[in-house]
Symmetry: C2
Subunit: 392 residues, 2 copies
DNA sequence: CGTGATGCTGCAAAGGTTTGCAATGAAGTA
DNA sequence: TACTTCATTGCAAACCTTTGCAGCATCACG
C-alpha cells in the first residue's frame, strides 16, 4: 500500500545476551540464592554483600526475569484489561485510571481489545490467564455463565455488568436514564425514543428498565429503537427511523451514538435541539466539542478503573494462586469476598436538549442555549441532578 | 467517591486448581512429553494417542502455561505496544490494526500507555522485555540513544520516529506538511503559523523542516508557535497567541490541537475558516464530526500498525532469543536487517480552510464550504493531493 | 566453657514446559 | 532369519528464579 522503502541495511549487532542471576552470582562470588535475596528480600543479606551484588548486577545489566519468577511465586504482577473497543472514547480514561492505580501498587496493566466480539473475549481471557494475576472485564459481551466459568480460571472483576458471585463495578445508568427522562419530560417532551445499544449489554437492559419506568411515571410514551452498534455510525443509521417515529426527544445508549444521530438528523434537515432533543450517556471529551454541545449522563469512568483495580488486587492478595503448597491437587475452598460497587452518574445539561411540544411557557426549565461561547455547565463542574442517594 | 456498596457476600469457591501437563499425562496414561508433543508437534504422536490425550485435556480443562513454555523456548508469542497516549484518537486505529495483524500470526498484543512520559517509556520497556518477543514503540519521547540502548534488551520497532540502525515505520508528514502549506498558499494565504507539538517529537521536527521550506518556496511567511501539548487543550491554549500574531492560516501538529484551536478561536469570536484557516494532521474520526469539518493531512495509521508488526515478527523470526544453545554466554553476532518504511500521507480538504487575503478572485481554488449536508471529501474517499511519489 | 540466639549464606527442590537422545516394537527388505 | 528403517514413546536435562532448611560463625550471657 503506497509505501516506499527508504533504507534497508543489515548490521552485525551483538545478540541480546540474556544475563541471568547465575552470571551475577559468579561475578560477585556468592551463591545464586544470595543474589535472589538481594532483590526480593534485601534485609536478609549482609549490607556489604548487598552492595557488591548490586554493583555486579548493575554492571552486567541484569534484570530479574519476571516470567521465571512468576512460575514459582505464582504472581506475575500483571493485570489484564479486556476492553470491548479501544476506539470508543469512553474507555481511555478508564484505562488510564486503571494503569495509574496499578502502577502505584507495583503492577503492570496489559490492555487488549476485542472489537465487541464475544469470542475474542473468551480467547483473550484464556491467553491472559497464566500471564496475569487477574483480569478486568470491561463491558463484556459474552454470557454470564461463560464469565462465571472463566472466573474459575483466573480472578475476574467485571466492569459495567452485573454477574452474581463475581466482584463488579457498575455505574448507575439506571439512575442516569431516569434523570435524563425526567429532564426531558420537564422540558415538555411526551414522546421519547430510547436508542438501544448492543443486545448483550447490561447497561442496555438497565437503561431500558429505568427509562421505561421513568417515562411511565412522567406520563410520556417511550419508543424503543434497537439494538444498534454503539458507535457513531450506529447512531447516524437510525436518524431516519427517529424522524419517522415522530418523537421529540431521544435518549441514546451512549455519546457516540448520540453524536452520530445528531449528524444524521442534520443531514436530513432536522435541527437539534429545536426539533428534536438528544441526550447521550458517558460524557466523553468529544461531547463538549460538537455543536450543539451534548447533554449527557456523565459516567465516572476514572473512578471505575481505579475501583476495579483495587477490588482485583484485594481479592488477589487474599488468595495467592498456584502457591507452592498445592502439591497433589489440594482443592481446598478459598473464602473470598465478592463486593459489587455502584458508582453514581450525573446529568450534564448542555445544548442538545430544548423545550418540547408540551413545554410550559412559564418558569423556563430549559437550560440556556445557542451559539454562545460558553455552555452552562463548565467542563470542570458537572451539574449534579436528582441527588437521590442510591439505596444501600 | 460517591459510591455505594450494593452487595458484599463471601462465598466458598473451589480454588483455581491449576491443571498441568502432568495431570493430563496421568489421566491419559502417557508420559508428559507425549502430552507436550500432542500440543506442540502433533505429527509426532500416534493419532489414537493424540485423540485420547486431547480428550483428557479437554476434560480436565487443561491449558498450556505460556509462561513456562516461554521460559524454555525463549518465545512468548506476545508483543508489546507502547503508546504515548491512548486517549489520543490517533492511536486506536493503529492499535487495532496491530492487534489484528498479530492475531493472524498467533501473537497477542499488550498495550501500555505512557502519558507522554519518557521515564514511563523506559520503565515499560524494561518491564515488558522478558514477557514479550518484541516491542513496538509508538511516537516515543525518549532520546535516540536511550532507544538504541533499550533495543539491545529486546527487539524494537519504532513508529513515528527515525532511529538509525533500528527498524522504523514512518509517515511522510514532511510531504503532508508541504501539501498543506501549498494548499494554504494556493488559497491566498501569505502569513501562516505552524503550531508545534512536543519538543522531542520526530514528527514535529519533520513538519517544521518541510513547512519552512514549502512556505519559503511559496513566498509565505511562517510563524513557529510552540512547543505545545499535543492535545485539544494545548490547541485552545494558543488561540489568543494565534489571534495576536495576525496570521490568516494555521497548520497544527495534529487534529486534536487543530480542533482545540478552533474552539479557542471561536471563544474569542474569530471565525474559522472565514477569518482564519486551520489544517490538522492525522484525520482522526473526530475531524469529520466537528463544525467546521477539519481539513487535515490523513496519516495511514492502520497500515503503520500492520507494517510495524510485520517488521517485528520478521526480525524476530530470524533471531530466536535466549535459545537453548546459548549455554556459556555465546555472544555471536546476529545478522539482522533493519528496514525503514515510509508511508504516504494525503491531504483531505474539508471545511476549515478557505480563501486568504491574497486569494485570486478568478478560478476559485477553494473547496466549497458552508453548512451543506455533505462535505466535498466523503469519508470513504480521501482527496489525494500532490501525488509526488517519495524518492526511493 | 557451654548454651542459646542471631545473622548470614549455601544447598537443593520446585514450578510447567520443551526437546535431544535413547529405547521399544513393528514392519519392510535382503 | 538377520538387518535396516520407521514410527512412537519415555527419559531427563534445561530454562530462571524462589524459598524452606540446614550449616556456620559470631556474640552475649550465665
Amino acid at each position: 500500500m503506497g509505501h516506499t522503502c527508504v533504507t534497508a541495511t543489515t548490521s552485525d549487532e551483538g545478540a541480546a545476551v540474556p544475563v541471568t542471576i547465575r552470571d551475577v552470582a559468579r561475578a560477585s562470588g556468592v551463591h545464586i540464592s544470595t543474589v535472589s535475596r538481594t532483590f526480593s528480600a534485601p534485609h536478609l543479606v549482609n549490607p556489604e554483600t548487598r552492595v557488591r551484588v548490586l554493583a555486579c548486577a548493575e554492571d552486567l545489566g541484569y534484570r530479574p526475569n519476571r516470567a521465571a519468577r512468576a512460575l514459582i511465586t505464582g504472581r506475575t504482577h500483571n493485570i489484564g484489561l479486556i476492553i470491548a473497543d479501544i476506539a470508543n472514547p469512553f474507555f481511555p480514561p478508564l484505562i488510564k485510571a486503571a494503569e495509574s492505580q496499578a502502577r502505584h501498587r507495583d503492577y503492570h496493566v496489559f490492555v487488549a481489545d476485542t472489537n465487541e466480539d464475544p469470542t475474542a473475549e473468551e480467547e483473550l481471557v484464556h491467553a491472559l490467564a497464566k500471564q496475569v494475576d487477574g483480569v478486568l472485564l470491561c463491558s463484556p459481551r459474552m454470557s454470564n455463565s461463560l464469565i462465571e466459568q472463566l472466573s474459575r480460571e483466573v480472578p475476574l472483576v467485571v466492569v459495567n455488568r452485573q454477574v452474581t458471585g463475581l466482584p463488579c463495578v457498575l455505574m448507575d445508568v439506571g439512575q442516569g436514564a431516569r434523570s435524563a427522562i425526567e429532564h426531558l419530560v420537564g422540558l415538555g417532551h411526551r414522546s421519547i425514543a430510547l436508542l438501544g445499544g448492543p443486545r448483550s449489554s447490561w447497561t442496555n437492559r438497565e437503561m431500558r428498565r429505568a427509562a421505561t419506568a421513568a417515562a411511565r411515571a412522567g406520563g410520556a410514551e417511550l419508543t424503543l429503537l434497537g439494538p444498534n452498534a454503539p458507535t457513531e455510525v450506529g447512531g447516524s443509521a437510525v436518524a431516519e427511523q427517529v424522524q419517522r417515529s415522530g418523537v421529540s426527544a431521544v435518549l441514546a445508549y451512549n455519546d457516540l451514538m448520540a453524536i452520530g444521530l445528531i449528524e444524521g438528523l442534520d443531514a436530513l434537515g432536522v435541527r437539534v435541539p429545536q426539533e428534536v432533543s438528544v441526550v447521550g450517556v458517558d460524557d466523553i471529551t468529544l461531547s463538549r466539542l460538537t455543536r450543539p454541545k451534548l447533554t449527557t449522563v456523565a459516567t465516572p469512568t476514572g473512578a471505575a478503573g481505579r475501583t476495579a483495580v483495587d477490588m482485583l488486587l484485594q481479592q488477589d492478595i487474599e488468595s495467592p494462586r498456584g502457591a507452592r503448597g498445592s502439591g497433589a491437587g489440594t482443592a481446598l475452598g478459598v473464602r473470598r469476598t465478592t463486593a459489587q460497587v455502584m458508582l453514581q452518574t450525573d446529568l450534564v445539561i448542555r445544548d442538545s436538549t430544548g423545550p418540547g411540544p408540551y413545554a410550559r411557557p412559564a418558569r423556563p426549565l430549559a437550560a440556556p442555549r445557542g451559539p454562545g461561547p460558553h455552555c452552562p455547565a463548565d467542563p470542570g463542574t458537572p451539574t449534579a441532578a436528582t441527588g437521590d442517594a442510591v439505596a444501600s
